[in-house]
Amino acid sequence: MGDEIVKPGTRLLRIAPLFFNERFLASVVRPTIADLQSEVAAAGSNRMRRVRARWRGYSAFWMLILVAPFASWSDDQPNGALGGVAVGLAVVTFLTVVTLGAWTAVVPAAGTAVALLIHAWYERHPSDVAMPPGAPWRSPQINFSSTDIAGNIGGLIFVVGSVVIVSVALPLVFWFLLAGAIAACFVAWGLVAWHTRARGRDWTCAGRPPRQLL
């Protein structure tokens, strides 16, 4: 019984690493959950006070989930651009659902799920492609919402996720996308072979003019 009093928030602590990086966990999420636990413990055996403490603590945690994408660590002002994009996205989604039907809500839901998956994956496997800031060639990665998508599992999640999202919205193009994805695999295979041979001559690629990269 006493164990139950100080344990709320345990599940939240398990799911929080899916959304946040270690810095945010240490400075924001854990203190929020510590407040929840201490407040519930302070409520003692008073059932009403415990319920109220839990409600306030859980509300604070889910509020964090909502505001975290817009939390700015470096600026004094709230991140207005991100907020604007979020509001714009919400309005477009609402209008789409109203005009085209409720099923279209699946598309933003799938997009959100893929974005969360990519961010979660890169929190655990940061991109290790070292690119000097003054490199004369472009980074081969896709910059997707400030996340570098490299040629790894993160890239695979990006491609499969994109195909799934477009297929949900436009089922007619599914076979075209599938054929395109298979063709892209062959092109990628050719590129890898070409880069492997080039690396044999100049493995640093330092002397390669930018136009020869592709």
Partner: protein
């Protein structure tokens, strides 16, 4: 420029001493919210305006230890400078 919430947190910490995040929320009369106070504190910590440490857990406590926040010297000086600036500004507007 010292944002309103950061100024309020500094005023509370300088005036009343080190506090937990929840105490700051309670003393702010609704100006600080539970869901966002640690975001603001985290930002202030990265600016060097406040510092924090984990509380020493009481014997037998099982929950996570809370963080206690106090102003840094830079935070205190920033608050004093900001208050002096706003006083000067108010005086300049009146005269």
């Amino acid at each position: 420029m010292l944002p309103k919430k950061e100024r309020l947190i500094l005023e509370l910490l300088v005036g009343e001493g080190p506090m937990y995040g929840l105490q700051l929320v309670e003393r702010s009369d609704g100006a600080l919210k539970r869901g966002t106070v640690y975001v603001t504190l985290g930002r202030m910590e990265s600016k060097g305006l406040v510092e924090s440490e984990q509380e020493t857990p009481a014997p037998g406590a099982i929950g996570l230890p809370r963080r206690i926040y106090r102003p840094t010297l830079l935070g205190e000086r920033t608050l004093r400078a900001w208050m002096a600036f706003t006083r000067e500004l108010a005086w300049g507007t009146k005269s």
